[in-house]
């Protein structure tokens, strides 16, 4: 089993925290529209979705490596 997985997941979690926490969050926290949708709304859900996809990808890779 890959030993790299825990640190990678930890990093992913840390990046997600950074992106959803001030001061970075304040970059998206504006009363603006992006493609007709509120900027913060788009930002939150797309970062969130990315987090989910990356987690799934990391775990998927691990599965492949197990013979």
């Amino acid at each position: 089993m890959s030993n790299n997985l825990p640190p990678r997941l930890l990093l992913l979690s840390a990046i997600a925290l950074l992106l959803f926490e001030y001061p970075l969050l304040s970059l998206a926290d504006k009363n603006a529209l992006l493609g007709g949708l509120p900027l913060l709304y788009v930002y939150s859900f797309s970062v969130w979705l990315m987090l989910i996809v990356l987690t799934a990808l990391l775990l998927r890779r691990k599965k492949d490596r197990i013979p």
């Binding site: 825990p6 997600a16 529209l33 949708l37 509120p38 913060l40 709304y41 969130w48 775990l59």
Partner: protein, 910 residues
């Protein structure tokens, strides 16, 4: 819509749940249920996290403060990647220790402490009962809204039996009692219940999306249209951003923290995620699927809230927008679907919460009391599983009744989100004890108890107590001015803290002081032997999973006693099963033994713990098993690992301190080398300078002699030649001295071992030799040399050099008109003391150390050219030091100078 229709729908829905649970349970009994091993079912069951609070409350929250509700779901989403080691470790530990609740988990970690188990249970009760009550409230008000206020939900005066909430609660209680306390199982698995919860998670998600899509495409032309319209009105446009909605960064952060902790520590989350888990691998799927579920259920919250605000405004409570929007459009079927969705969110939460809480209450509050009071577990008391299940069922009913009572007394005045957050803050208090406990062996039982108490009390003071005051049960001044007017005790501004909302404020202080107390008390208390073992198992669980656990507290019991005590809690067939399992696993025959091995007692206790909890099982088994004191050897065995770690860290520490010392030494050596280098350079400069002076004069005079030899008068010629000779002598003297220094410093000079010689004789001869010189310059020379022989060992010629050097110095520096030089030799017990004094100008005290250095000559501005080379005293000192002696000068300006040389007297070895 009539109340009858609504209630019928609710009961039909519960009927479907019954059928689902029943079928799955039946399959599980036959061992056919693959459903429970399905990671998707597991992930969906985690979605019990989304309660009526999510379903109704988030929309209400969003219509007041925009996307702030997201923090409650982002916390779990951010921590989910860490589940790979965090939650999985929790599961492996719990399976290994047969842990079946969060109270059990914390208690087991700290030496199966009964106190901790009870404390955690009480905190969970305080935190969760209001939370359950708001679910009942949500169901109640949704019925109210659906029946168009034929049935006002909040009727404190209505008799219990006339209240629909009571009947709904009863239906939930029956379901929970049937499926949450169906059978006694050491694994505490409830397949039917989990299947029902997973099913409910699907129902609420689908229902929410149905209403969301209806709002977006039925009431507006898609998301873009909805947001464009919302952007046009300042009242809704401000909800687009957190700053616009007035959400402070502190609250956002605290809510994320609270929810990240609650997702693992809430009793119901612990129950579905850990207790009902069938394989740690299921977590891998949940790590992405569960956050995806949260994302989906939250995606449409903001659009619904904006639509509600634009269409309905404040004509109805914003918590009800999900339901009132379809009603407003007279879509009855749709509103019923919405109702069922909300109902499923509430029921799943109530069912799982009350199951989890009832396990804790019966195992950690009721059973210990019954065992202590000898009402259970005795020969004469009713026996077996049925009693335990009855306790469990009564606990479920009791918890739900308490929740209903809470709702009827003060719960009605609270909105969904606040009560939920108060509950989150309560269970977050488990975090230091539970999470540190899994990674930090040093955490002790006392630390956990003190931390939990402090956190719990601050929580209780800052939130429920203040809420009671707000509800009018206490004076308002309690909040505004603090109790007895003490301002820093104001429950919303503890220690004068300002600028935080009530929840963040309480969470901040309680978690900070809880964690601090836990860490500090842990560091200052010693764990017991049992705590050490448990700590070791929790932290290093991966070493224990495959191998067997060793016991610290060695216990002895008769096998028959063990059978009897287990028989009081379990069916006889169950007990036999446990014993034969043990025989099979360990390949032993228990019939041939009379006394139970510690392994068997452990095994029995672990099995029993799965049913009645670790601390109760310990109490029950303890009634027959005598605990022996642990032997030193056994303690050593336990401590072996600790010692190994300590040794390792000590070795590391030593290495690093050694390195530090070496570094320091290297730096010092480097400094010394640099200084030496400087000295060497100085020395060469000085020597060459000293050499150049005579060479220059020799060159000049020789040139004169060469050119004007014939013209010079005889006496001039004579004087020039004299100067030439003396300058040459000076050069050769200098060269000799430099060679001397070289010899002395490099240690090639031969000093020891050498024959002893008599010092007095040397001094006498040298003084006599010099006497002529003194007489020539009419200097008064006195010497005082004792008759007895004074023997020192070393290099005779060098000692002569010392005496000559000192005497010539005295000769050079004594008073020019009435010069006086004295010499004395004395003997002490171990040393010979030679003093040579003059009556010259003396040496200023600040120069006393300095004059023994190389090329030091007293500043002779008044006397012009210095006399000598500046090496004499240096050489003298070196010689004396090499002979193991010392030299110093006693002098004051204008009072002459006396040099005192001390040399050790030769001690012949007999």
């Amino acid at each position: 819509m009539s109340l009858g229709v609504v209630l019928l729908c609710a009961l039909l829905y519960i009927g479907i749940l019954f059928a689902t649970a029943w079928r799955v349970d039946a399959q599980a009994k036959k061992g056919q249920s693959k459903l429970m091993r399905n990671p998707y079912v597991y992930s969906l069951s985690l979605a019990v996290y989304c309660t009526a609070w999510t379903y109704y409350g988030s929309v209400g929250r969003a219509s007041a403060s925009g996307l702030s509700f997201l923090a409650i779901y982002l916390g779990p989403a951010i921590i989910a990647p860490l589940w790979y080691f965090l939650l999985r470790k929790m599961i492996v530990i719990s399976k290994n220790q047969r842990i079946n609740s969060i109270a059990d988990f914390i208690s087991a970690r700290y030496g199966k402490s009964g106190h901790l188990a009870t404390l955690v249970t009480v905190i969970a009760l305080f935190g969760v009962i209001p939370y359950i009550s708001i679910q009942l409230k949500a169901v109640s008000f949704s019925i109210d809204v659906l029946t168009e206020h034929q049935y006002p939900y909040f009727k404190p005066d209505a008799p219990l039996l006339a209240d629909a909430t009571f009947w709904v609660m009863l239906a939930m209680a029956v379901f929970t009692m049937l499926f949450g306390a169906r059978k006694l199982d050491p694994n505490e698995r409830h397949e039917g219940l989990v299947a029902a919860v997973a099913f409910e998670s699907l129902v609420k998600l689908i229902a929410f999306w149905v209403v969301g899509l209806f709002v977006i495409y039925g009431l507006y032309n898609g998301l873009g249209d909805l947001f464009t319209q919302a952007a046009a009105q300042p009242e809704t446009a401000r909800l687009f951003s957190l700053s616009g909605a007035g959400v402070s960064p502190t609250s956002w952060t605290m809510y994320m923290l609270l929810s990240a902790l609650a997702i693992m520590l809430l009793p119901r989350q612990f129950h579905v995620a850990v207790v009902e888990n069938t394989h740690p691998r299921q977590v891998n799927t949940a790590m992405w699927l569960f956050p995806l579920y949260l994302l989906l259920i939250n995606f449409l919250v903001l659009p619904i809230a904006l639509a509600g605000k634009m269409i309905l405004g404040s004509s109805v409570p914003s918590d009800t927008y999900v339901l009132t929007l379809p009603i407003h459009e007279h879509l009855h079927i749709l509103s019923l679907i919405v109702f069922i969705g909300g109902f499923s969110a509430a029921t799943s939460m109530v069912i799982v919460s009350s199951t989890a809480i009832s396990i804790m209450v019966s195992n950690h509050l009721v059973l210990p009391a019954l065992i202590r009071l000898k009402l259970i577990g005795q020969e004469t008391t009713p026996r077996g599983a049925s009693t335990l299940l009855d306790v469990r069922r009564i606990s479920i009913l009791g918890v739900l009744m308490l929740a209903l009572l809470f709702l009827k007394s003060i719960g009605g005045s609270y909105d969904l989100v606040s009560v939920g957050l108060i509950s989150f803050t309560a269970v977050a208090q488990f975090a230091p004890a539970a999470l540190f406990g899994m990674y930090w062996r040093r955490g002790t039982r006392k630390g956990a108890i003190v931390g939990l108490w402090i956190g719990f009390l601050i929580w209780a003071y800052c939130l429920p107590a203040a809420a009671i005051a707000e509800a009018g049960f206490l004076s308002q001044s309690f909040i505004t001015e603090g109790p007895w007017g003490i301002a820093w005790l104001r429950p919303y501004h503890l220690f004068g803290m300002e600028g935080m909302d009530n929840i963040s404020h309480a969470a901040f202080w309680s978690l900070l002081l809880n964690t601090g107390a836990f860490l500090i008390v842990s560091l200052y208390t010693q764990p017991s032997a049992l705590e050490l073992t448990q700590a070791n198992i929790f932290v290093n669980i991966h070493r224990y999973v495959a191998g067997e656990e060793y016991d610290v507290v060695k216990r002895a019991a008769k096998i028959s006693d063990l059978r009897r005590v287990m028989g009081r809690f379990l069916d006889p067939s169950h007990v036999s099963g446990i014993f034969s399992n043990f025989e099979k696993e360990n390949k032993v025959k228990l019939d041939q033994q009379k006394n139970a091995e510690p392994e068997l007692i452990n095994y029995a206790e672990t099995q029993l713990a799965g049913i009645i909890g670790a601390s109760s099982a310990r109490l029950a088994i303890g009634s027959v098993a005598k605990e022996e004191n642990i032997t030193l050897e056994e303690v050593m065995q336990v401590l072996e690992q600790t010692r190994e770690v300590l040794r390792y860290s000590k070795a590391l520490e030593q290495k690093s301190s050694e390195l530090e010392t070496t570094t320091r030494q290297l730096i010092a050596a480097n400094e010394q080398l640099k200084a030496l280098d400087r000295l060497k350079a100085d020395f060469i400069t000085t020597v060459t300078h000293e050499l150049r002076t005579p060479v220059t004069s020799i060159k000049a005079l020789s040139k004169i002699l060469l050119d004007y030899r014939a013209e010079l008068p005889e006496e001039k010629l004579h004087s020039y030649l004299n100067i030439l000779v003396s300058e040459s002598e000076r050069i050769s003297r200098l060269i000799n001295q430099v060679l001397d220094i070289e010899k002395i410093e490099s240690g090639t000079d031969e000093y020891l071992p050498s024959e002893p010689f008599s010092l007095d004789e040397i001094v006498r001869t040298t003084a006599a030799g010099m006497a002529q010189l003194f007489r020539e310059r009419s200097i008064e020379f006195t010497s005082d040399i004792p008759e007895e022989t004074l023997e020192v060992a070393g290099n005779r010629d060098r000692i002569v050099q010392v005496v000559v050097n000192l005497l010539s110095n005295a000769l050079k520096f004594c008073d020019t008109k009435e010069g006086r030089v004295s010499l004395s030799l004395q003997k002490t017990a171990t040393e010979a003391v030679l003093c040579i004094g003059d009556n010259g100008k003396g040496i200023p005290p600040e120069q006393h150390e300095h004059i023994f250095d190389k090329f030091t000559q007293l500043n002779s501005k008044t006397e012009g050219k210095p006399q000598g080379t500046g090496l004499g005293l240096y050489i003298t000192r070196k010689i004396v030091e090499h002979h193991g002696g010392s030299i110093k000068v006693v002098s004051a300006l204008g009072k002459g100078a006396t040099f005192e040389v001390r040399l050790p007297i030769y001690q012949p070895n007999f």
